[in-house]
């Protein structure tokens, strides 16, 4: 590698070291611009708050709750990402996230209206979060999304009493815990870089 722009034939160790440095720069940049902990923690808490709404009635209150909480959570997340971009001086444009969020909202709303249970909307949430995990390149988000999908499938098949409450709890607890763990890792990364 040269420093003045002229090309010289580099040796293998130098090339390998350059690629490692580039990977490191990309990894640190990626970590800075993808604070997945925030939406995970926020929606996890919203999930926990939804539990009392799942306990009452036929799911109408739960649906109404998410009709308000879902877009509010999405808006808060977009504002957090925007503020973080300005503060850190690096970020991504949120087009793909907005598309994913709108698709999730519509899919979950339609699924809930048609089935009157939390299992189908929760399946939509799990699939959308797999897409989110892909954007964030985050295996913890992918794992917890898969687990949520499996839980939704089990509830849909077994149809236990209080299935909606159970799913809201699984969603709330798993996303809150994942958000807290990711937040800890995010804080450690930024303390050391």
């Amino acid at each position: 590698m040269t420093t003045n722009g002229a090309r010289s034939f580099p040796d293998n160790d130098e090339l390998a070291a350059t690629l490692r440095q580039l990977d490191d720069v990309r990894r640190r940049t990626h970590a800075a611009i993808h604070p997945a902990w925030f939406p995970m923690l926020l929606f996890g808490i919203l999930g926990l708050v939804s539990v009392p709404f799942a306990l009452v009635g036929d799911g109408t209150w739960l649906g109404l709750y998410w009709f308000v909480a879902g877009p509010a959570g999405g808006f808060s997340t977009s504002q957090y990402y925007r503020r973080r971009t300005i503060t850190l001086g690096v970020g991504v444009r949120g087009g793909a996230y907005v598309v994913l969020g709108v698709a999730l909202f519509v899919a979950a709303f339609v699924a809930g209206t048609v089935t009157h249970s939390a299992a189908a909307p929760m399946m939509a949430i799990a699939i959308a979060h797999l897409g989110f995990a892909r954007l964030e390149r985050s295996w913890p988000v992918a794992l917890v999304s898969l687990a949520l999908g499996v839980a939704a499938l089990v509830v849909a098949v077994v149809d236990p009493s209080y299935g909606d409450v159970l799913l809201s709890l699984v969603y709330g607890v798993s996303f809150t815990v994942t958000g807290l763990l990711l937040r800890r890792r995010d804080a450690t990364t930024h303390a050391t870089t």
């Binding site: 090309r7 350059t18 720069v25 690096v90």
Partner: protein, 114 residues
Amino acid sequence: MTENSHPSQRLDDTVHQRVRLGILAVLAEADQADFAFLKDSLGLTDGNLSRHLQVLEEAGYVKVEKTFVGRRPRTWIAATRAGRAAFGSELAALRELIAGVDRSSGQNGQNGHG
């Protein structure tokens, strides 16, 4: 330049430079980064970063936009489509070079022991 040419022939003189590769590596992950972030991430001085950004901008690999946040000026840098493509090609050529050297080392080792 053909796909079958030696990988070293596909290295782009504009991109094949440590600082400029670092700039494009950041911009490959982020849609935009500001001057201060690039400077801190890559451990550069203002002058050094400006010089390399100018080279990349003249080649059409980055675009530079000056904005204000409140009354503070901010300089945002983004990779162009050509810049992302050039960075991708450079990485591919570097990996091919390493793989080629590894292969030839392995063959030499086998010949030496055979």
